[in-house]
């Protein structure tokens, strides 16, 4: 299992879209991917799960991935959380 902590940086207008893109990205990997925020953990492939974390701009999020393509999954999601505007 690999994990990394990142700060989600995103202006408000993009937030919903950023989350939607994030989930699609996560779903394209085989590994199980989890996001945690202040002790609460959600499956990154589940829209409602990620929504329930209440991720806002400048929130600290821990991404962890476990499976065959864990490193690629982690890199891709970290990129997605740090620069959501690029997508």
């Amino acid at each position: 299992m690999v994990s990394r902590t990142v700060i989600f940086t995103c202006d408000e207008a993009l937030q919903m879209k950023a989350v939607a893109v994030l989930i699609q990205k996560a779903s394209s990997f085989k590994s199980s991917i989890y996001l945690s925020r202040s002790g609460r953990r959600a499956n990154a492939k589940s829209l409602l799960g990620v929504m329930s974390l209440g991720i806002e701009n400048q929130t600290e999020i821990e991404v962890s991935a476990d499976g065959d393509d864990q490193q690629a999954a982690l890199d891709s999601l970290v990129e997605c959380l740090e620069n959501p505007g690029v997508l």
């Binding site: 779903s27 199980s32 202040s38 002790g39 609460r40 953990r41 959600a42 499956n43 492939k45 589940s46 829209l47 409602l48 799960g49 929504m51 329930s52 209440g54």
Partner: protein
């Protein structure tokens, strides 16, 4: 696991307590233990084994005892109690505070609250409330539904069909508690309580349709706020190499917060109607709980001489 705590302001709201004195930080005072003390011995001056992190209750007896003390001693004892740094003091039965009580509390910045309820009654509901709020908790990726009175937690990989199953279960007249994310608390040594995070309560996500509000679509009778978790169903994609339970003799359990919950694993394959299978599993579990095991009676019929279960 995060350490659970509960703020005093939440307790004031939950029990509709009257605030007689507040140092202005009720929303910052954390209660970390579910025990509540009636400080009879402490008012008599005995402080060995005292738990200063507990909520203190002054009921009829403590109030009458304080009445008997002289003003000077009363002030001294109250100062000693407040000096321990207790989170708050609650007067029950709408008792009038003694004249020294509020000034002493102000000096040490200890909140004084009041309720109309009788002490024992209030104490038991407060302890029950704290036990739920302070219970160890975990959030799990799954769906929680209530089928014929049994709380069924459906677990499985993303995309295996949990939400679709939940939708059909709701359509068949049962209730949804949480989709996607279930917050589970261990409220006692044997009980797990599940509910949805506030933000996504009673919403369900179906791929291709999007987010739906089950309460709006199917009415309040189709949803529930919380439910005990009685049974776990693990959904997994059908694996040709794996053998699945055919008789129903194996007693499988899934560990959640240290409590073993009876569980089964259902393979998902094309053409399987999962909602009916989940419903049947729930009813079968109920029957087993009430003492009838269909698989065991089949074995009794096949081997009337007393066949051994270990054969299987």
């Amino acid at each position: 696991m995060p350490i659970a705590s509960c703020y005093l302001s939440e307790i004031v709201k939950a029990f509709d307590l009257e605030v007689l004195y507040s140092p202005g930080n009720l929303d910052q005072i954390r209660i970390n233990v579910a025990d509540v003390t009636r400080p009879g011995l402490q008012l008599a001056g005995y402080f060995d084994h005292f738990g200063p992190d507990r909520i203190q209750l002054i009921g009829n007896m403590e109030h009458a005892y304080l009445d008997k003390l002289s003003t000077e001693i009363r002030r001294k004892r109250l100062n000693a109690l407040f000096g321990k740094g207790i989170p708050c003091l609650i007067l029950t039965r709408n008792h009038e505070p003694h004249p020294e009580l509020i000034p002493c509390a102000k000096r040490k910045k200890i909140p004084i609250l009041r309720t109309k309820q009788a002490t024992s009654e209030f104490m038991s509901s407060l302890v029950k409330h704290l036990n739920v709020e302070l219970a160890p908790r975990i959030s799990m990726h799954g769906v929680l539904v209530e089928v014929n009175g049994e709380g069924i937690l459906i677990l499985g990989e993303s995309g295996v069909g949990k939400s679709e199953t939940a939708l059909e279960i709701v359509k068949r007249g049962h209730r949804l508690i949480a989709d996607d994310q279930v917050e589970i608390r261990r409220v006692s040594e044997t009980t797990l309580l599940g509910r949805a995070p506030d933000i996504i309560r009673h919403l369900i996500e179906i791929r291709g349709i999007g987010i739906m509000d089950v309460k709006e679509l199917f009415g309040v009778s189709s949803v529930k706020m919380q439910e005990n978790i009685d049974f776990v169903i693990n959904l997994e994609l059908w694996d040709e190499k794996k053998s699945y339970d055919r008789l129903g003799i194996n007693e499988e359990t899934t560990d959640i917060l240290g409590i073993p919950v009876p569980s089964i694993t259902i393979p998902v394959g094309p053409g399987r109607n999962l909602a009916i299978i989940v419903e049947a599993a729930a009813i079968n579990y109920r029957v087993k709980k009430m003492g009838h095991n269909a698989a065991k009676s089949l074995i009794d019929r096949v081997f009337p001489g007393g066949g051994s279960l270990s054969l299987f």
